[in-house]
Symmetry: C3
Subunit: 473 residues, 3 copies
Amino acid sequence: MNGHSTLALHEDRLFPPDALQRAIARRLYAQVANLPIVSPHGHTDPGWFAGNAPFANATELLLVPDHYVFRMLYSQGVALDALGIPRSDGTRAAVEPHAAWRLFAENFHLFRGTPSSLWLNHVFHDIFGLRVRLEAGSADHYYDRITGALQTPQFRPRALFERFNIEVIATTESPLDPLQQHAAIRDSGWSGRVITAYRPDPVVDPEHEQFPEALQRFGEITGEDVHTWPGYLRAHRRRRAFFASMGATSTDHGHPSAATADLSEAQARALFDKVVRGVATAADAELFRAQVLTEMAAMSLDDGLVMQLHPGCFRNHNLGLFERYGRDKGADIPLRTEYVHALKPLLDRFGNEPGFKLILFTLDESAYSRELAPLAGHYPSLFLGPAWWFHDAPEGMWRFREQTLASGGFYNTVGFNDDTRAFLSIPARHDVARRVDCAFLAKLVAEHRLDEDEATEVAMDLAYRLPKRAYKL
Amino acid sequence: MNGHSTLALHEDRLFPPDALQRAIARRLYAQVANLPIVSPHGHTDPGWFAGNAPFANATELLLVPDHYVFRMLYSQGVALDALGIPRSDGTRAAVEPHAAWRLFAENFHLFRGTPSSLWLNHVFHDIFGLRVRLEAGSADHYYDRITGALQTPQFRPRALFERFNIEVIATTESPLDPLQQHAAIRDSGWSGRVITAYRPDPVVDPEHEQFPEALQRFGEITGEDVHTWPGYLRAHRRRRAFFASMGATSTDHGHPSAATADLSEAQARALFDKVVRGVATAADAELFRAQVLTEMAAMSLDDGLVMQLHPGCFRNHNLGLFERYGRDKGADIPLRTEYVHALKPLLDRFGNEPGFKLILFTLDESAYSRELAPLAGHYPSLFLGPAWWFHDAPEGMWRFREQTLASGGFYNTVGFNDDTRAFLSIPARHDVARRVDCAFLAKLVAEHRLDEDEATEVAMDLAYRLPKRAYKL
Amino acid sequence: MNGHSTLALHEDRLFPPDALQRAIARRLYAQVANLPIVSPHGHTDPGWFAGNAPFANATELLLVPDHYVFRMLYSQGVALDALGIPRSDGTRAAVEPHAAWRLFAENFHLFRGTPSSLWLNHVFHDIFGLRVRLEAGSADHYYDRITGALQTPQFRPRALFERFNIEVIATTESPLDPLQQHAAIRDSGWSGRVITAYRPDPVVDPEHEQFPEALQRFGEITGEDVHTWPGYLRAHRRRRAFFASMGATSTDHGHPSAATADLSEAQARALFDKVVRGVATAADAELFRAQVLTEMAAMSLDDGLVMQLHPGCFRNHNLGLFERYGRDKGADIPLRTEYVHALKPLLDRFGNEPGFKLILFTLDESAYSRELAPLAGHYPSLFLGPAWWFHDAPEGMWRFREQTLASGGFYNTVGFNDDTRAFLSIPARHDVARRVDCAFLAKLVAEHRLDEDEATEVAMDLAYRLPKRAYKL
């Protein structure tokens, strides 16, 4: 590949340029670089680890499923059909994977400075051994190298899992999922720890277009009369217990807002009745989701599952794209999100319970210093999840630390989680987080706000101990 | 001027103090420092270039028209009358320009650290060759030097335009403007490229006190019956075509919010009827502005004019000042601004149109990472204008880049525009933007997130290519 | 104390690690490090200075009264009873102060990187001469050293006041306070200047559970018929005059929002009538507080007291904790806060008055660049208080400067105030503020945006001159 620009992963990447801080950051990072990966919140496909089949090719593995990548191409005029993105009707433009990859390569400059470029270059360099930059002229070289490697045993999912030094990874499943893949993993005798997490949104959100069918199926799978409020709650309890038996230690809730409610039994029944009858207004739906969150907290107190709340996203904002290509096509847009009033009903009931843990995420960074750090720095049950989704980038991580430290400290946060379905990027993502935390700590040490031995302990806590503690792993 | 403090413009100003980053920043800046100025959005007076008459004196040129300057003096107790600021009744306190300038000089310390001081010192040093600081003791020296220079041929508007290496500058005019000055420039044979932009706010905002008269005049000037909805729309189309024929490549919309609407024809007619009859409520007015934005987008699809939206300012907040001195006296205050719901009606219609471009600005920085970068990083029609107005400062530019990079990248932004009526400050403003972008890029390079050749390309794109592409120049 | 980690206060702490900036910061700091402390807004107990009795022990002085410290312990599961925090019924768990201190020491790592650790380590090191870190093994050493010192004459309140080089300190009292402690200080012949500030919230907030009794007492103490609107206003005027006679130069208002109102006399009477009869709704209460703020501004114009407004906190958010332990237990959480519309009624009346000063604080940092700096950079009556409460930390101070500088400059801010009841931490807090301001200024100098002589002047203004000017001290 002569004549091409070199691709390098500098050993000091993401460290402060200042020599003093860089030296400290290096020493801190040396202590955490090789710690096992704890990935308590993610969206990989358990079927990969159950079946251990090879991934198909570069395009199908790295481009087509990753809406964080193709959203950027789309934003600059690349048609989704030109990339072979599947449509919601099941069809797909007849595009050669090679051709789609070339289009990606030609536009790779769009990712300059973004976290996608950090992750992708890490994958290219460390996993596939590529040493030239991705660009028009190297597109075929990339495609062939990656696709070829994927056919070898070392690139099967389990081999990569082991190579990545993953101690435990959680996937996320709907209550309707029979968890057969997890059972298959367990029964296979393979030592990799792949657990599930309980994500009940499909049976919690009355505004989801498939809610009636999902609710119906929820009843069938649990044997409860889920069209009554008590039966509905029993079904959740039953399903949570099953998920826990398959390794789950947490639940996950992706709501439009952080609203919680604490209705009386009679109010809740009446509300549920409207939901079941399909006559819930938007406000009813919001209240129902809010009430279910509080019910979930009550169940967590009993079954010990850690609760996660990810509010504040307008899903499928692009109407035309949604109609043609369906969900999860890069058109989810964050919303301003309020926590102080929203969480009070739930916290009034469970905020001081020693056995309860609620991990909060946000897409509204203005809440870090104003609402989230003060809440987490007070309530024993509250912890802050890391900089999430659009903010899972060096700048976003840095703002998270800078804006939560004063009121929340380090120990009301839960370390890093990758939140990704892009399996190959997991080491890169944890590496970025570890580097940024070490860089941040190095600044504190260089400013004499922390001694280096303390910073080392914090770095190890953030990279490894806090996620294990927070998620009971 | 012995005994006075020296005024210097350090060649490394605004670069990171760290030696490694500074060296990179210098190299990047060397590539962009002398690129021509592209100024696609501004408020200079085309009459300056048409008539090419000399500017009057230091006070009339640099102090009286610049409400960013006199607002700061006013905030510390300097009366507007003491500066000779014209009142809304056309009168003006009898103040010697010399005396007003002295008052300015005595209070110049108030600007320490502000962008005004960066721009003014650049103008003083580079354009007028001043080498002592502006302060009480140097006030007369300044006044005389500047006023004297302004009488010479080299300080006439066209000479400065050429000296500033301006490739193209856009002014902003109301649809009611006959564009005679632009015609005079065109007919003069002078080679300077001064174009207009279509700013229809006076005939779009029913809450403007002169709306009825403006609408009347809009009908006269276009020959359309603008008191009917179809006639009103036809008048816009006609006027936009005329503006385009005079060089305009964009429209500009300064609204209180980012609201857009997509009413049916019947709803729009009914709404317009209320507006015309002067019975529109505040909510009607908001909805009308919202609907017109969507209509403007539809027209942009046809005539190719790039659309700019600058929402989120409470104009003329200071009641007493407004009554006495009128508009634009430094009392405009930014408001919290929502984009995700607000823009959806317009984006649902035109967001995926290849031929449509909407450039968004904000005064609410909390929207950068939460709303604007995710929107621009998805919709092909959306681009982000630079850090604007109150945020057009080194810190504001830095926050813009830091908070839009992860989701929007560099290529969904449109480079810099100066948005100013302070003609002499234009080179200073572009220089600050170029320096800050180079400093930001130098950090990425020093942290090994970008190679220097890539950073060089980005720097040139931001300074020159992206504004030309975004504004079709 | 062999075997323990060393506690050091590095002379360069909080300065930028970069050698160039650090050198500048050192020089700037050398000019301000020993300036007297001006503390115009705080919550120390005037009884300390009146009685000059020794403080009891380490736990009672440093842990039990400081809800910023015990909130962090509580957030990680330490029960308030285990620390001996008094309950609202007057009882208190039987906990040895020694034991509570040990619990604090064991958990001191929770404070890593927080401002509490900066302040506490400063107190430990500089005031008590401790040279090992606080941790489990040094808990008793700490307790004994601190408690022992407190019994000596040099650690009595007045001796510490003098040692701290406090030029003037303001406490905060309710209108119902007879100011006997202040009278005792004045009559004692001691030269320390301890003044009061007028904080009328208990008789202004109809939602305070003790409002009816407070209003009753307000009438008794002033001899006015405070159940009529004119009498109520007269009572304020009378009480403000008394406070001014006891040294007060300011009033202080802690409201849930920044709302102000400008009702007609008839409207205000009708509203007050509802308040007095106990039938005010939440909206009435909000409007009443809003109206009283405007009345207070009117009185400030007459009596010259500087007005302070601290809005935007949800007090006592934790219901269970409030019921058991009462107010001020670390469960106050900031709220999103709007200023532009909220302040307009008051500013329309008094915003341009030369004799009026309103100092604004915020817990919503998103308002700094968007609303507060533009307001303060225009209105002659408005000034910005420093980064407050949850934001009184190096990162918070830095964000305050970075986000207010462009529109507000340095001179529309009022320098630092400590806002604390933790008397011993006052030197540490002012030292942190001075260091951070010098670090910020050093960056501007290193980037050639300010000359060092200008930065020195600004540093001295921020540390000493501006608070004196703003608070008329």
